[in-house]
Every structure is written in C-alpha cells, then in structure tokens.
C-alpha cells in the first residue's frame, strides 16, 4: 500500500521513496513466483533475498516485535488463507509501529504494523491489505522494481536506501521502515496488479471485497484531516489517483460474491491489545488525524467506552478553543457505560480543574481513586484533590 508508506509514515526517507517511485517504469516482467521457490544465490534476485534474510533475522530479535502467540497465530492464519499454496512461504511479523502499513519482502517476510490493526475495522479490511501485499510478492514486483532501478540512474538511491534499511535495529523506526518499504517502491501498474490480486484473494477466502475500497476511503479521509501541511500537500498532489483507485476497487467488488466482514471475530481478537493501540496513537499528537480515525471507528454506533475515553484524551491534550467541552462530553459518555476505564474520571477531573470547577474535579478524582486505588499516579491525583473530607 504505497499510500500508507508515503503518507502515514513520518521522516525524510518518505521523500526518497517519492523520488524513487517517480522514476519507476515497467520493464520486462518476471514470471509469477511458484510455491516453495528459492532463487539461485548468484543472481540479482538471490542477492535481494539475502539482504532481506538478514533484515528478517534482525526483525526476529527486535524489541518492537509483538510476540503474543495468539495474535500472531490469528494474523498468520489470515495471511495463510489468502496466500493459499504460498502459505508456507509467508512469515508474518507484527511490529509495534503506530502507522498504517504492511509490507512484504521478496523473501516472504511480511510485516504488519500495529497502526494497521487499529485502523482496520474488520478482518476483511486487514485481509484486503495483506492480500494486496501478497499480490506484490507473488508477482515479484520488487525484483521488477529493482531491475528497473538498475537500468536507470536510480541505482545509487536504491542501494543507499537498501543499505540503510538493512542496518542494525531498524524495526521500530518508522523512518527506517519507510526506507525499507521504499526499496520496493512500486509503479502504478504494479499497484493496480496487486490491487486486483488482493481483491481476488480476499474474495476467494470468503471476505467481503467491498472492504478493500473502504480501506482506501478511510485513509483518504484521515489524510485530509491531518494538520501536517506536508502530509496534506503530498497527499493531495496524487489525490485523484487514490480516489480513482478506491473507485476501481469498489466497481470490481460489485462483480464478486458479497462475502463476510468477520467484524465480530476481529474485535474479539484485538480486544486485549486495543488499549495499547489507542495509547500509541494518542501519543503521536496528530490530533486532527486521530479524531477523524476515532470518528470512523465509532461509525457503527456500537457503545464503546474505550473509544469515547481516548477521544476525550485527544480533545483534552489538543486544548484548542471548545475542546474542553468536547473532552468532557466524551469522558461523560464513557463513564455512562458499564466498562468505562477508570481513567475517564481522571480525564474529567483534569478538565474540571482546568475550567476552575474544583468541586466537580475533586468528585471525579475521588471516583478515579476509588475505582483504581492502586493507580500509579495516586499520589499526584490526591494532591489535586483540594477539598478535604
């Protein structure tokens, strides 16, 4: 998903990715990969695999790898269902990186970023992204991109980015992950082909193909809500292409069986990680983007105390005109639900304190301490409570 790489990843290497992508033209197309394929080590393809094998060895050791067995099994099973005969060639690594992306290296190493897990609204959406990546893999798009770059002056850029990507400890770094992703900056035709393959794979696996276009539409909406001028500029420069892509996927989906979103199953699997995913997103302070994302996550109208709480957190931290009232509303919405996080009371207390309503602030802080008597910040919260008794 090139859009994801270019627009939801911070750092300067994204510029390099763009520069590189701009020059990619489609040369001779390698044949699709066959299951169990291993290239001859003496070939250019063998060389690329060797670099990626080294990167994979580092990934396995990374502190940023999400090692939960259940979650890994869940995502791996989805990838496997999509990959079919290629299942045993695909290895999935979930990395703690709060941005939208998944990558697939030519040697079969797939990375799934936690930011994607937060953004996918159901299993079908996750499958759409993974299917797209498998589409690149099966058609050996990175080899093609490499050969195209080799035939042009881009080889220097290609190599320098490649070396950076293969460096020590890259996994948690969004910049370096982007560099790695940009080694395999795909052409528009390749993206189209990966879209087609992904759509077919997800549909064959019983997923609702319409969800593929929804992923794009959500990304477009999120980028449009970003405060970062760079993100907006770069995004809108290629905006029609992205919208066109979503439209194409939507049209093609209409010709395929309806399928299932598997939303319930997805939510159940992600439940125990959701707090961490939200925390990682909120910490980035990309207020506009986060608020748009949270709004989209709440569109199903289901009661969601955690979503309301974290929406309140973003408003409270942004602290722009009118945000305090919105934060308060979100905290109160969370508190009205049975499974409200105790922290919603803390947030409410801070908002009341900011607004000079010490009586209500005290009340909220007391409630927080009552619900979470062993809270790590209990001493400071007690110091905020000014009315004794």
């Amino acid at each position: 998903m090139t859009l994801g790489r270019r627009h939801f990843v911070g750092g300067c290497s994204a510029c390099a990715a763009l520069a590189l992508a701009g020059c990619v033209t489609d040369g001779v197309k390698p044949a699709p990969i066959s299951p169990g394929y291993k290239p001859n080590a003496a070939t250019d393809e063998g060389g690329i695999w060797q670099v990626m094998d080294n990167v994979e060895a580092e990934t396995k050791r990374s502190r940023f790898l999400v090692r939960d067995a259940e979650l890994n099994a869940y995502v791996r099973d989805i990838a496997c269902r999509l990959a079919g005969n290629h299942c045993s060639d695909v290895r999935v690594y979930i990395t703690r990186t709060p941005a939208f992306n998944a990558t697939m290296a030519p040697n079969g190493m797939m990375t799934v970023w936690t930011g994607l897990l937060l953004r996918a609204q159901n299993e079908a959406q996750l499958a759409a992204v993974l299917g797209h990546e498998i589409g690149h893999y099966v058609n050996r798009h990175s080899l093609q991109a490499y050969r195209n770059a080799r035939d042009t002056a881009d080889i220097a850029a290609f190599l320098s980015i490649g070396l950076a990507g293969a460096g020590v400890g890259f996994v948690g770094s969004m910049v370096q992950l982007a560099a790695l992703a940009s080694i395999f900056a795909f052409s528009r035709d390749q993206e189209r082909e990966a879209d087609d393959v992904g759509l077919k794979l997800m549909s064959d696996a019983g997923y609702q193909p319409l969800q593929a276009s929804k992923v794009w539409e959500q990304l477009i909406a999120e980028a449009a809500a970003s405060e970062r001028p760079r993100e907006r500029d770069v995004f809108f420069a290629t905006h029609p292409a992205q919208e066109e892509r979503a439209a194409t996927l939507r049209t093609k989906a209409a010709t395929l069986p309806a399928g299932d979103t598997y939303e319930k199953r997805y939510r159940a699997q992600l439940k125990k990680f959701r707090t961490t995913l939200f925390e990682d997103e909120v910490r980035l302070r990309q207020y506009g983007q986060s608020l748009k994302l949270f709004e989209m996550l709440g569109r199903d109208g289901q009661p969601d105390a955690e979503l309301a709480y974290f929406t309140g957190e973003v408003y409270r931290q942004r602290n722009a005109d009118g945000d305090d009232a919105k934060a308060r509303e979100q905290y109160e919405r969370a508190i009205a639900m049975a499974d409200a996080p105790p922290e919603a009371y803390r947030g409410l207390g801070l908002i009341h304190m900011r607004g000079g309503d010490q009586v209500r602030a005290d009340e909220a802080f007391r409630q927080y301490l009552k619900l979470k008597p062993d809270a790590e910040d209990r001493a400071i919260i007690r110091s905020y409570v000014q009315i004794r008794g």
């Binding site: 948690g172 910490r283 931290q317 400071i380």
Partner: protein
C-alpha cells in the same frame, strides 16, 4: 543527522570542542537555574553541534550512555525542544502550556520522547508530588527503547513556576549507565535552585 555529523567533524578539526567541562561547584544553567554537581560533568556544546540552544545537556560517560537535560524555564506555547522549520513541518512537537498539571507535563514528555526517538515503546510511570528547587513539583520515571533497540531508563523532576517549566531529566541505558551515575544525577536534581526566585 549527517549534517550534524559533518558540522561536528568540522568543529573538531577546527579545534572547537563539542564538550565543555562542568566543574563540581555551583553553576548556572541557561541563566534560569543553578545546580551543584559533586562530580565533573561534560556539557555538550549543542549550539555548535545542531544549532539547538534551548535545552542544556550534560553527560558523564557519553551522550548515548547517560545524560542530564535541563529545561530551564520553558515558556507557554513552546515545545521542549526548539525545532527547525523543516522539522516542525515534518513532525511538530507538542507545546508546553502554563496551565499544565504534572499529569499533563508527564504526557508532554512522553509524547516528545516518543516522537524524537520514533518509538512506541515509551512508557511513563510513578508520577508523584515532590519538591523541586524548593517549590511544589513532581517526579516521574520513564522507560523507552530508541531505534538503536537499547532500553533506556529516565528519571524526571521539575516544577511549573510562574508559568514556566523547570525540569531536569536524567537518562541512561537501563542495563548499566543509568544506575552508574544515578546518585550523582540525584545530587544535581536535589541541588537545583531557580535564579531570581529566592529558591
């Protein structure tokens, strides 16, 4: 980064040391606070290296191993680290507000470190009230893993006084160097006084 390295190299060749020795005696930091270390620390001549002149950084064993960062009177609306226009465009750091509670200052530090180190593995804990430079202040701890995949332990202490943030952050590798100078860092934190505030 590469630019900074080149500048550092040029300065070294030109004889401008990127470090200045801080003697174990009462010293003034950024004209806003004073501290009294009990060992010699090395002040990193940041202006020379990166042009950033806002926070002052000292190290005992090397900046990647352990360091003391002084935030000496951050004003309302300013981030903890001054950014260049290009950095700001790429990823703007959140700003300090005079009205911030210790809870919000801790969130600010966590977000700032997460952004600078580009690491989701940044976690604060143990926020508690504590005197700083004789004023009501706060302390908290933090761990983070940077892109070098090294675990670092952080100790933060500070206060918001007359709308400005005064804070000292001590950090070091969790495995060894945080513990190695913890007592000396503590000494610096405990000795802090605000200039012109009767502290």
């Amino acid at each position: 980064m590469r630019f900074a390295a080149i500048i550092a190299l040029v300065l070294l060749v030109a004889g401008c040391a990127p470090y200045v020795l801080v003697q174990p005696q009462r010293v003034t930091v950024k004209n806003a606070l004073s501290v009294e270390p009990d060992i010699a620390w090395n002040k990193i001549n940041q202006q020379d290296i990166s042009g950033r002149s806002d926070a002052e950084i000292w190290t005992a064993d090397g900046p990647l191993l352990n360091s003391l960062t002084f935030f000496a009177g951050v004003e309302d609306g300013k981030p903890l680290y001054v950014q260049t226009a290009e950095q700001e465009k790429r990823d703007k750091l959140p700003a300090f507000r005079s009205s911030m509670t210790p809870t919000e200052v801790m969130e600010l530090v966590e977000s700032t470190y997460a952004k600078i180190s580009q690491s989701a593995l940044t976690r604060t804990r143990g926020l508690r009230p504590a005197k700083f430079a004789g004023k009501d202040g706060f302390r908290f701890d933090m761990t983070y893993v940077g892109k070098d995949e090294v675990d670092r332990e952080v100790t933060a202490a500070g206060t918001v006084h007359e709308g400005r943030l005064y804070m000292i952050i001590y950090q070091g590798t969790r495995l060894y160097h945080h513990g190695l100078r913890q007592a000396q860092a503590e000494r610096v934190i405990q000795s802090a006084r605000l200039l012109g505030a009767g502290g």
